[in-house]
């Protein structure tokens, strides 16, 4: 019975070969895209991003633990990717390519593989992130923090005054909110002193 059914299926498939091949291709396409998507999601999780390599686990993640983006009143968190990776699909895929640089640094050039080397590079790495955030008007901050939906009445007077001033001076989030998670590098300029092409920052986007 089964053999006959299989034989019939085989004959049908032989007649509709192009169709069968097309279907097989479609299934492969779906599978490939699923694998790709799942990889993107997995590489965005803390088990991969925060704790699967020495550089992140022994430095960045230790600093993150207990910070306001890890532990707070409401238990609503922001993890690595929320602040450090774009959220739109294509920029995200491009950013993930940056992992190749991490692999290179870890296995070949070994630039941040010890605590001492990491500290020595801290200023440079922090400046790189600050420049990136200034350049896109703290886009990743704003993915969660909607300036338009901030309720000034629930903020301190101090915060209200400072935000007012930031609006006036066309500052972006990272100009003031730096070193809130990771250690502030010693010496060197802070984000406000860094020169970045401000024309990149749309005026309307600042608060």
């Amino acid at each position: 019975m089964h053999a006959r059914a299989l034989a019939r299926l085989g004959r049908w498939a032989a007649r509709k070969r192009a169709f069968v091949v097309l279907l097989a291709g479609a299934a492969m396409g779906v599978a490939a895209l699923s694998v790709f998507g799942t990889t993107m999601i997995y590489t965005s999780t803390e088990p991969f991003c925060a704790t699967s390599c020495h550089e992140m686990a022994n430095n960045s993640n230790l600093e993150f633990i207990g910070s306001v983006h890890d532990r707070n009143r409401t238990g609503v968190r922001a993890t690595c990717v929320d602040c450090h990776v774009p959220h739109a699909p294509i920029p995200l895929y491009i950013a993930k390519m940056g992992a190749l640089n991490d692999l290179w640094s870890h296995h070949v050039s070994k630039t941040v593989d010890t605590k001492e080397k990491f500290e020595a590079q801290r200023q440079k790495m922090a400046q790189r992130v600050w420049t990136y955030m200034k350049g896109n008007d703290s886009r990743e901050c704003r993915h969660c923090h909607n300036a338009a939906n901030m309720d000034p009445e629930r903020q301190s007077t101090w915060a209200q005054l400072r935000h007012e001033r930031a609006r006036r001076e066309k500052l972006t989030c990272i100009d003031c909110h730096f070193g809130i998670t990771h250690a502030v590098p010693e010496g060197g300029p802070g984000p406000q002193e860094l020169e970045v092409d401000r024309s990149l920052i749309p005026r309307s986007a600042i608060f």
Binding site: A18, G25, G29, M150
Partner: protein, 213 residues
């Protein structure tokens, strides 16, 4: 018009015979690749639709029934707050895992039915008349899942009691002892509170299974 359609039809039939021919020969690789492309595009479309269906543009603003609820959401703690971190419709009301998410999206058909056929909540008056029933349905769902959607954002183990009020610390302690879940106290924080027993009374009086869905 018909002539154009017939011409296109004839052209497609000719093409298809050719493609069928390829399937047998070395052209089958091209067919396979075309299939992969089609599959990827179809799958990406499903994914994009899922993302779009979760957006406020679709979920909160595209039908009369929901715009009503959207008005209640506006200005609530999950819309405007100190830090500007928001939770929108799907954050609280749709599962975040894939398969449960897809299943939940099928619930859309119930909404179509309710909108086009029965019209059960078509006017604000009808909506108010059914508010308690609707609220109870959501409370029951949240109780059953131990407020899973709340916990998707609010990680209990990452709450810092030192930053909470005395009262909140005490209440959370009590909730832990009594085996309560988020929704039993934090109800009607976004949408209007309906008349009738709240979730705690509801679930303490009768076993969960007997609370009508």
């Amino acid at each position: 018009m018909m002539k154009i359609l017939r011409t296109i039809g004839a052209w497609a039939a000719l093409r298809w015979r050719k493609v069928r021919g390829w399937g047998a020969g070395p052209g089958s690789l091209a067919v396979l690749l075309a299939g992969m492309g089609l599959g990827a595009v179809a799958f990406a479309s499903v994914g994009s639709f899922m993302v779009y269906a979760n957006s406020e543009a679709f979920c909160a603003n595209s039908c009369h029934e929901m715009t009503q609820l959207q008005k209640e959401h506006k200005g609530s703690a999950h819309d405007a707050n100190r830090s500007g971190v928001r939770a929108t419709c799907n954050d609280c009301h749709v599962p975040h895992e894939y398969v449960p998410n897809y299943l939940a999206k099928l619930g859309l058909f119930a909404d179509y039915w309710g909108h086009f056929v029965t019209g059960s909540i078509a006017t604000p008056e009808k909506f108010e008349a059914r508010r308690y029933l609707l609220a109870r349905r959501v409370w029951t769902y949240m109780k059953e899942t131990d407020s899973r959607e709340c916990r998707h954002c609010h990680t209990t183990s990452k709450m810092d009691p030192d930053k909470q009020s005395e009262k909140a610390i005490r209440r959370h302690e009590k909730a832990r002892a009594a085996g309560l879940t988020c929704i039993e106290c934090h109800f009607a924080i976004t949408h209007k509170e309906p008349e009738g027993p709240g979730p705690q009374e509801l679930f303490s009086k009768e076993p969960l299974k007997q609370v009508a869905r």
